[in-house]
């Protein structure tokens, strides 16, 4: 049997349909208008340099059932509005619906004046001051923290250095073992001279990270994905959703040089968080993490493989450790319909049980 069953006239029809979709999609593109993101109302409660600390406004104040506020710590790469990208795809909103009082750290866009910001500045400086602000506002001594991706790694470090200020820790798609055999990013950077990168570029351009991430699956992410767009071009809402996601993917802040240097060398190249020897102002030991920990990871995560997160198990000082796996990818865990229905409610329930 031949591997093809394609009649020329059918192919012609397929191409004609393609052309029509393209033409009609162009009309929708002309009328698409502004692409909004970050949809839940929020107020600024603290600002410092490029950093902004937000508190999300729950329209129904009685809906906040948790006594302890929850601080979301996002990664330095990409922007935190992924957690609140649109009305029906908002981890923030789903957490609020689960009774949480939600705060969010937005690291902003570092410029060249921020080139000498270190991980110590970020974790023991900025993050610690945000925690202090929240503690003062609520007249409490400890808060709950939810760290996402690199922000999860920061949260682990922070919790190890300041266990007296963290009541419960939730990590989402957070790498702990940076050298699992399936970690493509880690494999690539092993022979990259991080000192040369930072000494030469100062801050590391966001575009450099963008293209690195796209190269993880170049044929899908730069080719097939756009062909798939064709199927939704005639739906203005679907087109807007696609463009919103595109905006987020390519909205990558530059990385402060010194923080980037230490992250690549200590975490990716030397795996010090897991193996020991990490210093962020002071030595960081996972054994110092004694508060309850919920570790949420995505089973099809191509950026942070599940094993990179699961490595946390047995390495922490806490006796209250829980894992929650989600059958999806690194982004789907925030934006998919299934994730909206399962992940934030599960986090809310876990926190309530320890409130």
């Amino acid at each position: 049997m031949l591997p093809f069953d394609m009649r020329p006239d059918a192919v012609m029809q397929e191409l004609m349909a393609y052309g029509q979709k393209l033409s009609h999609g162009m009309k929708n593109l002309m009328e698409v208008g502004e692409i909004s993101s970050g949809v839940t109302p929020k107020t600024v409660v603290h600002q410092e340099d490029k950093l902004t600390l937000y508190r999300f406004q729950n329209p129904n104040k009685d809906a906040v059932t948790s006594k302890t506020p929850l601080l979301i710590v996002y990664a330095l790469v990409n922007r935190p509005y992924m957690t609140d990208i649109q009305e029906n795809r908002s981890t923030v909103r789903a957490l609020m619906d689960a009774g949480q009082d939600v705060y969010l750290v937005d690291w902003g866009y570092p410029d060249r004046a921020d080139r000498y910001l270190t991980l110590d500045d970020y974790i023991n400086g900025y993050l610690d001051r945000c925690v202090d602000v929240i503690c003062e506002r609520h007249r409490i001594k400890k808060i709950n923290i939810l760290g996402i991706c690199q922000g999860g790694t920061f949260s682990l470090c922070y919790s190890a250095l300041h266990p007296d200020k963290v009541k419960n820790l939730v990590t989402m798609v957070t790498p702990v073992d940076f050298q699992t055999p399936d970690n493509m990013l880690s494999h690539w950077v092993q022979q990259v001279d991080a000192d040369l990168v930072v000494d030469t570029l100062g801050n590391v351009p966001g575009e450099m990270l963008n293209w690195t991430f796209l190269n993880l699956k170049p044929y899908q992410l730069m080719g097939q994905k756009y062909l798939g767009l064709l199927d939704t071009l005639d739906d203005p809402d679907a087109l807007k959703n696609f463009l919103r996601m595109e905006k987020w993917i390519f909205d990558s802040p530059d990385q402060a040089g010194e923080a980037f240097r230490q992250f690549i060398k200590d975490f990716y190249q030397q795996n010090k968080l897991l193996k020991g020897g990490l210093e962020i102002g002071e030595p960081v030991s996972l054994k110092a993490i004694t508060m309850p920990v919920l570790n949420v990871f995505a089973e099809q995560d191509h950026l942070v493989p599940p094993d990179a997160s699961r490595a946390m198990r047995g390495k922490l000082g806490t006796k209250d450790y829980t894992e929650l796996s989600f059958p999806g990818g690194h982004i789907g865990i925030y934006v998919s319909g299934k994730a909206q229905k399962t992940v934030p409610p599960a986090i809310g329930k876990w926190l309530d049980e320890r409130d």
Partner: protein, 368 residues
């Protein structure tokens, strides 16, 4: 908007005519006249060039990318249909894939830069390589981004040519600089040497991708044979494309997890940045000669400013803690309490970010 609709309708109409004529000839069993190699893709390109200035900034990049992908997709259709016109069947498909494989092989042996359309200006796969060179395309964008000149200027060089005279160039660049301009000569020699290193790294990287192209084509061919055996033929162009992407992604994923790729990638990044670093050094020397602030000097100031800021924040925190202690002490004294009670108030904690991280380097140290 009326103009836009006219363009769209015009393009659709031209596509309809083209395919109607083609179908008519096919039905009559006539031999189709010699046509342009990629009429659909070329038509699409012209249409987009005319229309793109009218598109709003929002989403333009997405549509640019969609058009690039579409051109490749149309080329795929044209190549495939070309095979079908010449008799169809597995022979035509194999001929098409063999041609593709030959292209990669020639490429790999020639050691040419990864520019299929430039290397084979008349080749039948023009446009189709959009599918293959995505990883290289991203690299070129990245290189352009970190260089002071627009675009990846190294694309203008021909590493295959440089390779032939590499030894002579290296000998020439090793000649000790002498005379009044000795230092400047040395800097240019270092720059030229680093450019040679980068071109060598780029050539090795591109060569590896050409081999990957051969491997992917083989795997694609095998996957088609397996589908034939399993009686699961490909029934649409989109299915063909998806199968191709799946095979390309799988072969790519295997390759980039090898030690070979890790070395190639590390070398490529490091040599590119070494060029950039030397350029920056030479620019600094020029600025210094003109009594203007250099990058290294500004970097030093930024470093010192950050250290001052850390000290400042540390002092703020300590003052706040002391004030708190003082207030507690005052209250205790007023209430006639004990020193121990006052001691219960928090003491100044470790100063946040009080010292630079262990890996931090001073700009002065690295600029020399």
């Amino acid at each position: 908007m009326g103009t836009t609709n006219n363009w769209m309708d015009g393009w659709l109409e031209s596509q309809q005519k083209y395919w109607n004529a083609w179908a008519d000839m096919a039905q009559r069993g006539m031999k189709a006249p010699e046509a342009p190699k990629n009429p659909l893709a070329d038509g699409l390109n012209q249409w987009w060039q005319a229309l793109s200035p009218m598109t709003p900034p929002v989403g333009r990049e997405v549509f640019d990318r969609l058009m690039d992908v579409s051109k490749g997709y149309f080329s795929l259709a044209e190549q495939f249909m070309g095979g079908a016109k010449q008799g169809g069947g597995m022979d035509a498909v194999n001929g098409w894939l063999d041609g593709m494989q030959k292209m990669w092989s020639d490429w790999s042996q020639a050691g040419a830069a990864f520019r299929p359309d430039a290397f084979f200006p008349q080749n039948q796969f023009k446009g189709l390589t959009t599918f293959w060179d995505l990883p290289m395309d991203t690299w070129n964008r990245l290189a352009a981004n970190v260089m002071p000149m627009p675009g990846d200027f190294t694309q203008a060089f021909h590493p295959e040519g440089a390779h032939a005279v590499k030894d002579q160039v290296n000998k020439f660049l090793s000649i000790p600089a002498v005379g009044y301009t000795r230092e400047a000569q040395e800097q240019y020699q270092i720059l030229a040497q680093r450019q040679m290193d980068y071109m060598g790294a780029m050539q090795a990287y591109q060569g590896a991708f050409a081999k990957l192209g051969i491997e992917t084509t083989k795997q694609f061919q095998q996957s088609l044979q397996e589908r034939a055996k399993e009686a699961k033929p490909i029934s649409s162009l989109r299915e063909l494309y998806d199968q191709w992407v799946e095979m390309s992604e799988a072969a790519y994923a295997d390759f980039v997890m090898t030690e070979e790729y890790q070395t190639l990638y590390g070398r490529l990044v490091n040599t590119l940045l070494a060029v950039k670093q030397q350029m920056a050094r030479m620019v600094d020397q020029t600025l210094e000669a003109m009594h203007m602030p250099t990058h290294a000097e500004i970097s030093t100031l930024q470093c010192r400013q950050q250290e001052l800021r850390r000290d400042n924040l540390k002092l703020h925190k300590e003052i706040k803690a002391l004030q708190s202690q003082l207030e507690a002490l005052r209250k205790t004294l007023l209430q006639g309490g004990t020193d121990e009670e006052a001691e219960e108030e928090p003491k100044p904690k470790r100063a946040a970010a009080a010292k630079p991280a262990a890996t931090k380097r001073t700009p002065a140290a690295k600029s020399k």
